[in-house]
């Protein structure tokens, strides 16, 4: 139905409409911030990322830290499960250089597609007047795959620096030892994703605004548990789902192999986050503090949901054409490949939020309203190991 606002919007030139569309989306995020403390914690990052697109205007960004590095000169073995995870992580190290980099990758080959070819649905596109002639559809799949992997890469850089911060600030001594392995893991992930993107795909997109907001918010927050929550549960949890999706759907053998290794690391990372936070959130903090973290996680989940609209691809292909930003969003929301992608990601994420105790009846209606309620059930990280996960993914896709 056309509201009066829509009719006004429809007579505006496309670039103005797009600007309005972007602002409305940002306004939605601000409007959803329920508590003043969450507002204080996220709003400056949201202004940086959503309004100023700070990640896109320069090759470098500075995010000043404000946490304190926590030392313990008694070296206590204070968390046996983390120590076990540390042992597992040491054994699970692998060398990114050993992947079969000699594999020839042709991102435009429809017979060995890097990403599912229905990420963009041709019929839905056609109904919007967007046509793909000849090779164009595979070029679009190439763009979408490069975009997806670029965002993975940027997320991994965030994880690398955040894992270092988490290692400094975590209170468990065993956690610090484990944390160091995660820093190494993340470096390896940055290495292999960057190499795959630059050597095999030839195209790297800039960081998505929503992802920038999330990284900025958790890097600049002084509270260690929010860094954990943001990085280990939210960013890594979603990444685990996203990698799983691509692992299942890619036909390109090098990428499949690469993701298989990355997924096994990621499963450990999320497990670590759940271990560190479960007790802390349920018993270590006050009710109001817990509510605040619950709101914060919800806010980040919303940013995550909006993170995958691939506006960067829109800007490359359709900026300055008659195709509007909101039409593009419609296309992304309804294309079956992207729907499966979102589903896989949140199927991994939401159960972990539940597992650490941040999915109380108080917040559930909000998740439901945001369309994320369907993921309430499902397995959380400590219930599955990385190997099981890979096996499970193989079985599902067989």
């Amino acid at each position: 139905m056309n509201t009066p606002l829509d009719s006004i919007r429809n007579i505006l030139p496309v670039h103005v409409r797009n600007r309005v569309d972007g602002l409305m989306e940002a306004a939605d995020i601000f409007a959803s911030m329920k508590s003043p403390s969450v507002m204080r914690a996220i709003a400056p990052s949201a202004v940086r990322g959503l309004l100023f697109s700070a990640g896109k205007h320069s090759d470098t960004s500075d995010m000043p830290a404000s946490h304190s590095a926590h030392f313990n000169w008694a070296y206590p073995h204070d968390h046996p499960e983390m120590l076990e995870l540390y042992e597992r992580a040491k054994l699970g190290q692998w060398n990114g250089s050993d992947l079969p980099w000699h594999t020839s990758v042709d991102p435009l080959n429809a017979e060995i597609p890097v990403a599912p070819i229905d990420l963009i649905d041709l019929n839905i596109a056609k109904s919007m007047g967007i046509k793909f002639e000849g090779k164009e559809h595979m070029r679009m799949v190439h763009s979408m795959a490069s975009w997806m992997l670029s965002q993975f890469l940027h997320g991994e850089q965030g994880a690398l620096l955040a894992a270092a911060q988490v290692t400094e600030s975590v209170k468990f001594y065993d956690g610090k030892l484990y944390g160091a392995t995660q820093v190494m893991d993340e470096a390896r992930h940055v290495e292999v994703f960057q190499r795959y993107i630059t050597e095999k795909l030839g195209k790297m997109y800039h960081i998505n605004d929503n992802l920038f907001v999330i990284i900025d918010a958790l890097m600049t927050d002084s509270r260690w548990d929010l860094k954990f929550l943001g990085m280990q549960i939210m960013v890594e949890g979603l990444a685990l789902g996203a990698f799983g999706f691509l692992y299942q759907s890619t036909k390109e053998p090098l990428l499949k192999e690469l993701l298989k290794y990355v997924i096994q690391d990621e499963a450990r990372h999320v497990h670590y986050g759940v271990l560190a936070l479960k007790e802390h959130i349920n018993y270590g903090i006050s009710k109001s503090e817990r509510n605040e973290r619950e709101d914060w996680a919800y806010e980040v989940a919303l940013l995550m949901r909006n993170r995958f609209m691939a506006y960067e691809v829109y800007e490359e292909w359709y900026d300055g054409t008659s195709v509007t930003r909101s039409q593009w969003r419609e296309l992304i929301m309804n294309s079956p490949g992207m729907q499966r992608f979102r589903k896989t990601m949140f199927t991994r994420l939401v159960p972990n939020i539940r597992e650490i105790g941040l999915l109380s009846d108080r917040i559930r209606p909000h998740y439901e309203q945001a369309g994320l309620g369907i993921y309430f059930a499902g397995q959380a990280a400590p219930e599955v190991t990385g190997e099981q996960m890979v096996t499970e993914l193989d079985r599902e896709s067989a």
Partner: protein
């Protein structure tokens, strides 16, 4: 962190944004993504930067498999590792009496071997190259090869647990041997059933090796030989491996459920037709049946009769224009013009160099691996196609839509 400090950061961001917005449109356009030159890789497919230089392989061992079949164990001269996917083949270039011939021979070794690769060649009646190889190739011989190439492949994956039915006839066993050994070595939970048809036991390639494999993997590998003229006392399958023999054999494979199996077959055309028809009639989905056809070498037309022609080549949105030389294939002309051509086997066998003719007339050597639909839709294989008029074509076109 204080709100004030965060605000001061915002001012810096705002400045960056304004500076960037005021830059030229080209500069701004760069901010969506960065482009990199994709590093070309030597191996299963080459790009024009390496032109059409075949790899040199050295024969390090010659194994006489049967009276008319030989296996050549080869290694690279630079001692680099060799990568391929089981099921692939090499194109061997042989110069006999001053004339160059190209023939495809399947790999028969496991993909787990890093430094050597084995191809197996059976004599074909009046086959120039297969007879030359059987008679003349010795340890130390250097062979020029293209590839490995091919789409009849099975990528082993240690996390897989699957049931594979291999059906081979005669020399069609070679790619299946590579698949069989690779899967057994890499996929510890997968099982394989192999049906192998031959005229006689003497003609069955790898007879002893299969025996050894069956012993080593007795819990996961079942082998059944089917012979047309077995000696007295033969306990295996009897008869020509056609549809009815295959149906009988299938009935006896009690441990095999075809509904959760994948079939890989290679052999004479009538065998493959019969097997396929039987499998489909039993409800197996066509997508689970993989077939390799050994197409005979394409007949070369008199190459010198082709005059130079104007060419327009489109690759990934880029365009090259130029002139072909007499006798050149479209692939050779494209490479000479530095277009981003794609190719692998160079003899019309793998489909990697497929192009779509947009305008003009061409002539293509036959037979080749294009499907009837692709022929009708004016697809061609650039490695065996020559222009008859000015020609415009697209490299790596989308699949033909039916």
């Amino acid at each position: 962190m204080s709100l004030l400090r965060k605000l001061s950061l915002l001012v810096v961001d705002l400045q960056k944004m304004l500076t960037n917005k005021m830059g030229s449109p080209q500069q701004r356009a760069k901010k969506t993504f960065r482009a990199y030159d994709i590093t070309p890789v030597v191996g299963s497919s080459a790009s024009s930067s390496e032109m059409m230089h075949p790899d040199i392989m050295q024969v390090v061992r010659v194994i006489r498999e049967t009276a008319d079949t030989v296996s050549l164990v080869m290694s690279r001269q630079d001692k680099h590792t060799i990568q391929f996917v089981p099921g692939m083949f090499y194109t061997v270039i042989a110069t006999i009496d001053g004339v160059e011939y190209r023939r495809a021979y399947s790999i028969s070794s496991a993909s787990t071997e890093a430094h050597t690769v084995t191809i197996t060649i059976k004599r074909v009646q009046d086959g120039l190259v297969s007879n030359w190889i059987n008679d003349h190739v010795l340890e130390g011989t250097l062979l020029r090869v293209f590839g490995p190439s091919g789409t009849f492949v099975l990528l082993p994956d240690s996390t897989q647990k699957r049931h594979i039915l291999l059906i081979g006839g005669g020399s069609g066993i070679t790619p299946l041997m590579s698949i069989c050994k690779s899967v057994l070595a890499i996929e510890s939970e997968s099982t394989i059933h192999l049906l192998y048809g031959n005229r006689s036991k003497e003609e069955a390639i790898f007879f002893d090796e299969f025996k050894r494999l069956q012993k080593q993997y007795s819990d996961r590998l079942t082998i059944r030989h089917v012979l047309e003229t077995p000696a007295a006392g033969w306990k295996g399958g009897k008869g020509r491996l056609d549809r009815s023999t295959f149906a009988q054999e299938l009935d006896h494979l009690a441990t095999l459920n075809i509904n959760d199996s994948t079939v890989y077959m290679c052999g004479p055309e009538p065998m493959m037709e019969g097997v396929r028809a039987e499998l489909l009639s039993r409800g197996m989905l066509a997508k689970h049946i993989h077939q390799e056809r050994f197409t005979p070498a394409p007949t070369h037309k008199n190459a010198l009769s082709y005059a130079p022609q104007a060419l327009i080549i489109h690759v990934n949105g880029k365009t090259w224009k130029g002139q072909s030389k007499p006798s050149e294939t479209l692939l050779e002309s494209g490479l000479a013009l530095s277009a981003d051509m794609q190719f692998s086997c160079t003899m019309g066998g793998c489909g990697r160099c497929r192009i779509k003719i947009l305008q003009g007339d061409v002539e293509m050597d036959e037979p080749n691996c294009l499907t009837a639909e692709e022929h009708t839709a004016r697809y061609a294989l650039s490695c065996i196609t020559r222009p008859l008029s000015a020609v415009e074509f697209e490299v790596a076109p989308p699949n033909v839509t039916l």
